[in-house]
Symmetry: none
Subunit: 125 residues, 2 copies
Amino acid sequence: MSRSRDAVHEILRRSESFRSAQDIFTEMRSDGAKIGLTTVYRALQALNDDGRVDVLRTDEGEAVYRACASDLHHHHLVCRRCGRTEEVAGPDVERWAEAIAAEHGFADITHTVEVFGTCASCTGR
Amino acid sequence: MSRSRDAVHEILRRSESFRSAQDIFTEMRSDGAKIGLTTVYRALQALNDDGRVDVLRTDEGEAVYRACASDLHHHHLVCRRCGRTEEVAGPDVERWAEAIAAEHGFADITHTVEVFGTCASCTGR
DNA sequence: ACAGTTTTGACAACCGTTTTCATTTTCCTT
DNA sequence: AAGGAAAATGAAAACGGTTGTCAAAACTGT
């Protein structure tokens, strides 16, 4: 498992946002790559197992993947129509999470925050 | 939409944890209720629309529901050790989400916020 | 080149969820 | 009560994303 796995990883690294498996598959195909959807799924699984990509679920239950930027901590604003994703910083949210956790006696906390909406170019269409 | 909707809500209120639609359906059937799976799904949707239950996705993409203790919008603080869940209100987060979305031209937004940690009684054990 | 293992991909199977649609129930008006 | 429109129901089919199957193709070391 290497050829296509690297290809998928590459696509993801070039992307700035979360991408779905089908989405990646479509892009690779129209780029002329001869790869199967199954292989894309397998590559994503493997990459996730290796901790090289992370995955989250949209409101609709679709899995979307992203190469780990691992930079700063930030959250995502995802268009539920076209999948476009903006990275947004949320210092307020971080503080809120810390405070609320402390208040309830919870320690060692982590949090997930994802905002879904319809982006400007998809609105009204 | 009332008979079965109340029944589903009742099941949820008696539950202490998140339940899947299929799970609820199975319980109701073995309790002798003559209800269809479709109706369970519709009841859950309606209850969710009314803000009486909240829904989240498991890692596997399955939707799980839970009766809201409070009728207001809120988030969860989940103990990663024992699974204990506290409902927490997050007006700050709501405002933050709205603001950030508007700033990027996103409309019609929803958000998921889940905070994981180790609760007081699990700490130090 | 050769045998053995791994990877691949078309296709079918899966599973949770939604849609369809005909039937039943509920509710309102006489 | 009776009649009729509107809402609710449920069995079965459709759907969409994901995973399994399995034979063919691509690597591996000898």
